[in-house]
Symmetry: C2
């Protein structure tokens, strides 16, 4: 069933089927736009979250929890913010049979509920910087077609960080720190990305500017997988988050916010997976090694005993290992099943291995099988983990870079965007006019400008001198 | 400020102030009935959750995540359930400016959203038992006065488990397993409890019966801290969760559900805390040991160096340790601060300790100070952890048992309930009539009957033979 749905030719169906069959995500929609995470998917989620949490904890962010319900008056305090969100917010208007005096929004993001707490928590420059984060569900009333994990009404894994600073410069430093944290996070997952400064017409509502991480999905559309916002004093002023400076004067704090969501998991699955199913990096795989005994007439007991020993050996050294000793399923079916689940390393042990004192290892990425002395099991497994991660990263970045394309004319850009060939770079004068024209001409989106790539050339729209590249693509 | 608010004489204020000042919970209400968990409180929460998660994981429960929004038609499928909840559910009626075709409830509990998934996941007896849980926010439109952590509109730490079984007997076994899990959980936290079978008029809406854990709060009111429900086929029938039996026939599954919430943390804080602030069991304390250097003229450098060494020693062996080396705060202020935060063990090191090669340990529960050779630090600290936990448990159970009172007449019961003397036991014939009369007579609640205590006597209401005790108390 799955093999027929090739990832490249019918990606949407492949994604839905593979996440369902591997028990990662169940989107047989109970509630429009809201998915369910079964046990296996939830473990994967946790392993991914643990990476970003460690990175945040190590840089002085504190995990907190803020309320889901935001009274309309709070959500409306920052004008640009509410204008952008009011059309896509879910509103609670009734408690039991009572009409509420003030309607409550399900948080679409938490700036407006965190600012009042910052106001209470921050008095003086000695309270700064303040860096908090939470992992929560956020809600968007999506009216377009939804897509599992990618365009949903309940975003269940929104990791949002919020920080406050004494100066604009310090907020700028925080933006850089956030970018570094996300770089490391995506690097750990072998997910390739470009970092762009979003054009003004596409920045976060209320931000001074937005930096975004985009990756490329199998059908050639980009997916925004992380954003970092410098909010300046845009929120602290309406929310009156003031602090006492060392010189005795007062100022409003400068804030930033940055977030990632389960889109990271959608990217992880889509980029590494293949026609056999998931392919999970060992770092985040809920099961890193599966042991499949190959029992053989008359040798069943010995094979099962040896399998159990291998299991104990790996478990003892902290490997997340599973022994599949079901006796009503053939080894072949087990191979198929665990490949679908994306388990990075399979250990087989049969009578031949028993005789020779060996084990057979199979790696999920290349499906290559090798035989090793049983004493080397632990060492070889750990080598394979590293090798698989190196290879996943190398492969995903190589493929990604092949789709970073630089062209000189609008015509070429138009054609390549239409064909979903990847992320198309053209020279751009930097004006909003030319940017918006670009978007409508190529029928795609302006992702923004690279942070550090400069160009000398002529804007492909107006012909004026250009000092920027701009990235164009079809997006989610 | 805090010392003036004695736990016994003004408990409500004590609780609000101590949780705020110790940075566990911030209830300076942003949104009515919704609290904020700052960093320290969030860590405490996590440590508590990790205990219950380990117990659930070890007994074959899988952590999952189900949607927050429940369409009205799903919530209404089980008649008794919806009748009980419809008056206290928050309803989402609008998406942006659009009126929704069907209103959506914020989950008050998740039976009605998990059942449809069980229907998809369970086909045959080989899929049973199925045991899942999630930790999520649930919502109740509380119209009574709210109370931080205890009676809130957003319950942020709802751990709800849901199971499905092939037979009623297996569901019964599951109820017993759940009770054992909760026993261990509360025992780990040194929280005393009674276990009662709730009277029929107070069972969970849709349950066959409900078993409840109640503890006693400082002002003599009981607090329900955990419930276990046998749901029989009451949910599986309307939701059509059928399975194939080994004999080829079909039946509806039998389900159970059981939950705990942040009320556990409210109990933990209220039962162990004192007029100095929090008093946290080492098992769950975010900081288990604080090291306070006592610098002394001319010996500052040596004291700080020695403190750092102690810090490294404890950190290395996995103790959650904090070195408080702030130099703008006196040791006395530090003592006060960390006592408020409930850190179970304080290590002081001053010039006298330096000379003698000793350290001074102070335990938070008794405030007793002892001096030990520095080489014994690790051993002594770990001994103290055990000793503090033993002593907290011993003390809390002793106090609790003093308030389990058995009386022979309605008059006595009435007087003791009015005085909030604890949990009052009287003989009861078991009829609803007499039970409801008891409630109105004593102006308190019937908690239910003990699971295993039998009595021979006469019902204090009707005078008929009684085979049960019934527990009465003022409750939250």
């Amino acid at each position: 069933m799955l093999k027929a749905q090739r990832k490249r030719t019918d990606y949407t169906r492949w994604f839905r089927d593979v996440t369902l069959m591997a028990e990662v995500y169940d989107y047989r929609v109970l509630v429009k736009g809201c998915g369910v995470w079964p046990g296996y998917g939830f473990k994967l989620r946790n392993n991914v979250l643990n990476i970003i949490k460690s990175l945040l904890d190590a840089t002085g962010h504190e995990e907190c929890l803020f309320p889901l319900l935001i009274p309309q008056s709070l959500l409306a305090k920052e004008g640009e913010h509410i204008r952008s969100f009011e059309k896509e917010v879910f509103w609670v208007t009734k408690g039991g049979e009572t009409e509420l005096e003030e309607k409550l929004a399900l948080r679409p993001t938490s700036e407006t509920v965190i600012m009042p707490m910052f106001k209470l928590w921050i008095q003086s420059h000695t309270d700064l910087p303040k860096k908090v984060y939470q992992v929560v569900s956020v809600f968007r009333y999506e009216t377009k077609a939804t897509h599992p994990m990618i365009r949903v009404r309940e975003v269940t894994m929104f990791k949002e960080a919020h920080t406050a600073h004494a100066t604009y410069e310090d907020a700028e430093r925080q933006v850089k720190e956030a970018i570094e944290i996300y770089r490391k996070f995506f690097d750990e997952l072998s997910i390739p990305y470009v970092i762009s400064k979003r054009p003004v017409w596409d920045k976060f509502a209320g931000a001074v500017y937005t930096i975004s991480f985009d990756t490329l999905m199998p059908e050639g559309r980009t997916l925004q997988i992380g954003t970092v916002h410098n909010l300046g004093q845009n929120f602290s002023k309406p929310f009156e988050v003031e602090f006492l400076k060392p010189d005795g004067s007062r100022d409003y704090v400068y804030t930033t916010s940055y977030g990632v969501s389960e889109r990271v998991i959608a990217a992880l699955i889509s980029i590494h997976g293949d026609d056999h199913g998931l392919l999970l990096p060992p770092k985040v795989a809920p099961i890193q090694v599966v042991i499949v005994p190959i029992p053989y007439k008359g040798k069943e007991r010995e094979v099962y005993e040896a399998s159990r020993k291998l299991y104990e050996t790996l478990k003892e050294v902290g490997v997340r290992v599973k022994l599949d000793d079901r006796d009503d399923v053939t080894p072949g079916e087990k191979f198929y099943f665990w490949e679908l689940k994306g388990v990075p390393v399979r250990v087989e042990i049969g009578p031949k291995d028993l005789e020779g004192g060996t084990v057979t290892l199979s790696r999920r990425d290349t499906l290559e099988r090798t035989r090793h002395p049983v004493e080397e099991l632990e060492v070889k497994v750990k080598e394979l983990f590293k090798e698989i991660e190196r290879s996943l990263s190398e492969r995903s970045w190589r493929e990604f870079r092949e789709h970073l394309i630089y062209v000189n004319t609008l015509e070429e850009a138009k054609e390549l965007v239409a064909k979903q060939e990847g992320i198309i770079h053209v020279a751009w004068c930097g004006s909003d006019d030319c940017g918006l024209k670009l978007e409508s001409e190529v029928q795609g989106r302006v992702l923004g400008t690279p942070l550090d790539e400069k160009v000398e050339g002529k804007c492909v729209v107006c012909g004026e001198n250009a000092s920027y590249y701009v990235r164009l693509a079809k997006t989610y």
